[in-house]
């Protein structure tokens, strides 16, 4: 069952098309890596899903409903996005307590998530004194506060040191074991490769791949030729000129390693661009 759905989602800023006819689903219990180079439209897509940006066309929904129509959004979906910061003059504990009040999560849960993200000792310090990594951990604590089944994490590894990245990997694995649905965007392809079930790749506002990690990195026989790693596949799919716009059948097409793959003609996972 799809719990997150993007259906022909489009966003234009003036003449610029930030997201172009994006369609894909995320099934319950899946951990999906949402990849793409800077400016690919990932963050804009996530913001539209979360009701922070209005789509020009199409629809993004959570459990079949627009985010703004969710009864208890903090319980339905936990989100870590760059724009959702904490007031620098407020302590981490008070930041979470305010949201716990609104989400009826209880103050004991605040202590739990602070410990979970290893901020227990900094709980009563003002957020303005936090490093970028600590703020990122606080953002994750915020996302987890009301114990949501669905998590949307936009670049959660930003600002984390190697130990923090290792910790994040463990956290994502734990969330996956718990059967939660996670849509995570990241530039750390190695981390994504170790964690996700599926990969969705965007380039220049368009979807260029939606498949399992295994299919994407299958040795030989795949449409990307001798692709061996997620990084190889990512670079092949997102390189300048790789997205050829429209194939002969009018659908998005992709070139990579000399392969032109009109939608619908590909015998592997990429064909599921439009679900």
């Amino acid at each position: 069952m799809a719990v997150i759905e993007f259906a022909a989602l489009t966003k234009r800023f003036g003449e610029t098309v930030a997201v172009d006819d994006l369609s894909f689903d995320v099934e319950a219990g899946q951990v999906v890596g949402f990849l793409g180079p800077n400016g690919a439209g990932k963050t804009t897509s996530l913001y539209m899903l979360l009701g922070l940006v209005s789509p020009t066309a199409g629809r993004a929904s959570v459990n079949g409903r627009l985010f703004k129509d969710l009864d208890e959004p903090l319980h339905a979906i936990g989100a870590l996005v760059e724009a959702a910061g904490a007031h620098p003059g407020r302590t981490a504990r008070n930041h979470l307590l305010s949201l716990a009040m609104l989400g009826r999560a209880g103050s004991s849960r605040v202590g739990q998530v602070l410990e979970l993200v290893d901020l227990g000792r900094a709980a009563d310090k003002r957020v303005g004194t936090f490093s970028l990594g600590m703020r990122q951990r606080l953002g994750l604590a915020t996302a987890l506060l009301c114990d949501p089944e669905i998590l949307v994490l936009d670049e959660p590894a930003n600002g984390l040191d190697p130990e923090g990245v290792h910790w994040l990997r463990q956290l994502l694995r734990q969330l996956a074991r718990e059967g939660r649905t996670v849509l995570v965007s990241s530039h750390l392809l190695g981390e994504v490769a170790q964690t996700v079930d599926r990969v969705v790749i965007m380039a220049q506002g368009r979807l260029v791949a939606n498949t399992t990690l295994d299919e994407l990195t299958r040795l030989g026989g795949g449409p990307l030729g001798d692709t061996r790693s997620l990084e190889d596949a990512f670079l092949a799919l997102t390189a300048p000129g790789a997205t050829a716009g429209t194939g002969s059948d009018g659908n998005p097409a992709t070139t990579g390693k000399g392969v032109l793959t009109p939608l619908g003609a590909v015998p592997w996972g990429v064909k599921k661009w439009r679900s």
Binding site: Y47, V81, M101, G103
Partner: protein
């Protein structure tokens, strides 16, 4: 809505700037009340002697700063979210943005009322203390003092809501604060000084008359104390100021609040 308002109140209580503004209201109220009390009865001061009811009424209503600071508080409540990039988180918790705006206005109004109460308490304490120090008996009835304090609370509360509407419209903390101070300290003083027949209808001036301040006494510069015109009845002044707050919040709700983050 009650939960959302409590959420906004909690946020207001857990940042230092709220307490800084509150302290500034008390400090400025004390300073200006002391100045007015020291000038009371002096020739050309415009402040009647403390031995008169008029003089005591002036020094116990030196509360206009609380209105401006309440509006500044409202601006910070609304535009501070944009300054500190916390807007998105608030909308993730409550996606219905008009409800968030209303809760902010209510929470800021509560904060503004506390500012008004503080300013009144300080002015009454220092003003009557100065009179007592000069061995002058209290000539202003307690009911009048309470009425002025209540008017100050109500006026400051509504002004805080005006600040929320303005801050939501402008989305800039600096622009919002400058607008509030320029409007209160300069624009209304100039307009009110030049056109005394309309000044009772200016929102800041109307709010000061709700607080028991004589029409024109809250003006700054040459317009201060200029006679002319009559204050609006309390209910009319309250309706006027509340109407401005509602208009600004409605404008913000229909425009800037709906914008993409």
């Amino acid at each position: 809505m009650a939960l959302l308002t409590r959420f906004e109140l909690f946020k207001l209580r857990t940042v230092r700037v709220t307490y800084g503004l509150w302290a500034a209201v008390a400090a400025l109220g004390a300073l200006f009340t002391a100045i007015e009390a020291s000038r009371a009865g002096a020739t050309g001061s415009g402040v009647a002697a403390l031995s008169t009811a008029a003089g005591q009424s002036i020094v116990t209503t030196t509360t206009s700063w609380s209105l401006l600071f309440a509006a500044v508080l409202g601006v910070l409540v609304a535009s501070g979210e944009h300054r500190h990039s916390t807007t998105a988180l608030t909308y993730l918790a409550e996606p219905r943005r008009e409800r968030v705006l209303a809760a902010k206005a209510l929470a800021a109004a509560a904060g503004g009322a506390v500012f008004g109460l503080t300013a009144s308490a300080v002015a009454i304490a220092i003003g009557l203390g100065a009179a007592a120090g000069a061995a002058d008996p209290r000539l202003v009835p307690a009911s009048t003092l309470i009425g002025h304090a209540a008017g100050t609370c109500l006026g400051a509360g509504i002004f805080a809501a005006i600040g929320v509407g303005l801050g939501s419209l402008l989305r800039s903390q600096v622009a919002g604060i400058v607008t509030v101070l320029m409007w209160g300290l300069a624009v209304e003083s100039v307009i009110g000084g030049l056109f005394t027949s309309v000044r009772a209808y200016l929102p800041y001036t109307a709010a000061t008359t709700m607080a028991g301040i004589k029409l024109g006494n809250a003006a700054f510069g040459p317009a201060h104390g200029v006679n002319g015109g009559s204050p609006l009845p309390f209910a009319a002044a309250a309706a006027l100021v509340a109407g401005v707050a509602a208009l600004l919040c409605a404008l913000a709700g229909a425009t800037s609040v709906r914008r993409d983050i």
